[in-house]
Subunit: 554 residues, 2 copies
């Protein structure tokens, strides 16, 4: 038996090898979980994390965001710099914000924000450190302070703690804001998975934001805001009692400051007033009263209390914790960035999954089906059409695409575009499970419909359940899937009406042109039969034309 020979260790030897793993070490080794699995994706992820943080900070501070992204070559590496006009960061926090994973202000609160994990920007720094060995470079100035703070920060990965290399104060022409620079091993690419595409989609979902990009070749692109007011700031909520699990309730009870159970219920949860609290307590019955001391409630009573909560009618969660884009702004964003002939947008009412409020928005932008470059064609003519089919040079990804291509699906979570892992996302799942044929589109089995169309879907929530830390796809909770489908179907019906009307219009147009071709001949025939003069003939033809047009309502 296990005596511990040359090859096999004893239980004691095995115990001696057990060690704690720092969260930074873990993610350094698993960097693909954070979106750093390829050199091109690393660039997009770095930009996204920095821009998301900048947007969150600006909006929270009530500032209309203006963000500049600059990417430049530094030897074999790329330098990514993101500068914002935000409120700036207090000097003492800079180290931990950029040099520690799992550190942030948004994890512990229930309200909609782009960042939620406290990992992204530190992960970008860690990736830079891993691939180039250089620390992050941060400049930040708070409004009213005479100078900006400049720090060089890296992560001590074995302890998940910031290492601050240099710190000084300097003059900066910005009155307030933050600039982050990180050098990474990366590849700058164009196309649907590009920095440009991320920024363009960010502009669509955030029409109050101005974004500027300078790429490694010096090309500059600017996405100018079309709306001059900030979206309302989502408020923070307490958890809804129906979303709380037994073990969580037990933990909350044992941590409670409240002196009585009634007080605990009122304070810890949203939507629980005195009346609801009493109803819950009464239902839980034996051994529990409004005056029970929360910290002394035993497991069996807590189980009853949990069951009582589930059985009590409580109003749905407050939803001012959510800030959807809104139909008006969504339409604005779509019109500004996408050239199409039909637009429809929809903001659904908030719903709840596992106690978390969320809200779905859908927008469709359908290209002009009559335009030749959007028509389906076979392989033989594809090349020619590809070359000449745009009036303007293609920017990032073509939006919308061709009519024989799958629709362009733009996915957003809390206003952030999701560029990767489309197949793993609940949004894709919902879009492919709908029968689009009934709305007049072609659709391969199990796939997205084929149409010159952009399909935009936004999920806003106090806690978006992502399928990985890289925040690229939404997990398929049934409640979320259901809302997504309802939203898409509603927009699908509107699209179907448009397509029917459009088809009827085009048919009428074709008939009209046929009439225009033949009407003169009819006129000549009539002239011969009725033996009338030229003037009479022309009057008759004009009258006929008018009647026919009225009938077709052109």
């Amino acid at each position: 038996m296990p005596e511990g020979d040359a090859t096999h260790p004893t239980a004691f030897e095995m115990a001696a090898r057990q060690r704690a793993i720092s969260v930074s070490e873990f993610f350094l080794k698993n960097r693909h979980l954070l979106g750093f699995d390829s050199q091109s994706k690393a660039v997009v992820t770095t930009v996204r994390e920095a821009v998301d943080n900048a947007l969150d900070a600006c909006e929270e501070a009530g500032i209309l965001p203006e963000i500049a992204v600059e990417i430049s070559r530094r030897g074999a590496a790329l330098r990514v710099a993101v500068e914002d006009n935000g409120p700036g960061i207090v000097e003492g926090q800079i180290g931990r914000i950029f040099g520690k994973l799992l550190y942030g202000s948004r994890f512990h609160k229930l309200s909609q924000s782009r960042g939620q994990q406290g990992m992204g920007i530190s992960a970008a720094g860690m990736y830079g450190q891993l691939t180039t060995g250089l620390p992050m470079h941060i400049i930040s100035r708070i409004a009213g302070e005479a100078q900006a703070a400049e720090l060089h920060v890296s992560i001590d990965t074995s302890r998940n703690r910031p290492d601050i290399h240099r710190k000084r104060h300097l003059d900066w022409d910005r009155p307030h804001g933050t600039r982050v620079e990180v050098e990474i091993e990366g590849r700058y690419q164009r196309g649907p998975h590009s920095v440009e595409s991320y920024l363009k989609q960010t502009a669509i979902a955030n029409p109050h934001v101005t974004l500027a990009l300078r790429d490694p070749d010096g090309v500059e692109i600017r996405f100018q805001r079309s709306v001059e007011t900030l979206p309302p700031l989502p408020s923070e909520i307490r958890p809804h009692p129906h979303g709380v699990e037994l073990g969580q309730l037990i933990q909350m009870l044992s941590d409670a400051d409240a002196r009585t159970l009634r007080q605990f219920l009122e304070r810890a949860f949203s939507r629980v007033g005195r009346k609801t609290a009493d109803a819950i307590i009464e239902r839980a019955s034996a051994g529990l009263s409004a005056r029970s001391y929360p910290r002394r409630i035993a497991h069996a009573e807590a189980t009853r209390l949990h069951r009582a909560i589930a059985g009590t009618r409580i109003s749905g969660p407050r939803t001012d914790c959510l800030a959807p884009i809104g139909e008006e702004r969504l339409l604005e964003g779509l019109r500004k960035e996408i050239d199409a002939s039909f637009y429809t947008v929809l903001t659904r009412r908030p719903a709840v999954y596992r106690g978390n409020p969320f809200q779905v928005e859908v927008g469709l932008a359908h290209g002009k089906p009559g335009r030749p470059y959007l028509e389906a064609d076979d392989g033989s003519t594809r090349r020619r059409k590809r070359r000449g089919d745009r009036e303007q040079p293609a920017q990032a990804a073509d939006l919308p695409g061709r009519s024989d291509e799958p629709v362009r699906l733009l996915r957003f979570a809390n206003r952030v575009p999701l560029l990767y892992q489309q197949p793993a996302c609940a949004i894709t799942r919902a879009a492919t499970q709908i029968n689009w044929r009934s709305y007049g589109l072609r659709q391969p089995k199990g796939g997205l419909p084929l149409a010159p169309m952009v399909m935009l879907v936004h999920v806003a929530s106090v806690w978006v359940p992502f399928t990985s830390e890289s925040k690229e796809a939404v997990a398929s909770y049934p409640e979320i899937l259901r809302e997504l489908k309802l939203g898409l179907q509603d927009c699908g019906r509107r699209l179907a009406r448009y397509l029917r009307r459009d088809r009827a219009l085009r048919l009428a147009e074709a008939q009209r042109s046929r009439i225009e071709t033949y009407l003169p001949h009819v006129g000549i025939a009539l002239q011969e039969i009725l033996e009338i003069g030229d003037a009479e003939r022309e009057r008759t033809v004009a009258a006929l034309d008018a009647v026919l047009r009225r009938q077709r309502k052109i």
Copy 2:
């Protein structure tokens, strides 16, 4: 500007809200990342984490594993118990192993094992705690100790530390081993995503293991080992220099104990002897010598050193860190659990991704295409055939499936079956990107081939890159994808040969039976024409039959 009004906080107010997030809190909120996103999956994940740990411990200690899984109902919850005959766990370590995320012995070493993250079993405990409020219950005894230790452990999630509730010593009839019990909110289900399916597939990839299951209805299933020896214990290796990134090299240099650069290179890396070390140092040139003190090497020199490493020829990584199943055992496992008429297995030579050795194994088991229940049919007859198409009651998932269904893909990583997230896995990607039509199978575009076949694929590595912490799918590193395809294609060619031979055989069989039907008539005709007697006729027919059979080589 940001003065801090009623709604908008100042930078200072924002700073005050920044907080560290414990890794347990993070995964508690993101429990779907660890495989606890649905009640049925939670049961499978709990069993898997406990069984994987048991197998790792037994094999490391040189014990043939015998593992019992019992799942029983406890009110609305399920109790999952897993008991092994392993070496036991030293009492002082039990708390941290079961009550702390990111704690283990396998993360920091490069060798193949099932566990690698130090999260799984603690995550199962945390899920139990969240949903039922109860701590884990652990009994463990080390060989030679008079009694077993019994502990009740939960996680203090806000600090990621174990809470030990009760601890005592008791008599236990096992001489050594560990028993883990956890009560969770869960749903026990059957089918392809079931505990039974996980155990059956584990038995296929681990024919040296005996597994027993008792399900909530008291049904008992036993998978008995078919091999009486343990697989070789994989050895631990140092990193290969070609897999080390610049930042990592800089970190290693600054942590180095070695007094000289040459010593550092020899000690820190595998495959670097004195000669290779000197070649690297010479190539790095200016400012660096064999005697340079590692901790004083500056960034510019380290960059040159890193480039020199990349430019130096170094033998490939050692591969005794890998323990593939092996062709013989793989075949054994397939034959034992799957009833088919053609089997082929293949263990490819080790390869390397990002410095990590890995190895791909493939096995195919093709059902009997001549058997009627496996033939393709149209929808109209499906129902009838479905009902009567099995000689034996279906166990877990039917293996293989029907000939008009996609092949059953069994994915394994380090001998652990992967049951979920099939679409996201590199194995699936490789299997769908191959043109199976050229091997004689039908295949829908972009899908798995249709055949009554089991396709088993195993990826073994010192570090399997999973797409999430729940370890359900392998990330698509190009080197891994390439090896997977080569292995599948090789097996595909063997399958094609079998299918051609089988088709020829069935054709000959059909012709032979036609001959058997008509030969007597031929005999009678001949008898009339040649005017011969009955005996002569029978001799002639027999002779003809023999000649025809020889020609067809039946």
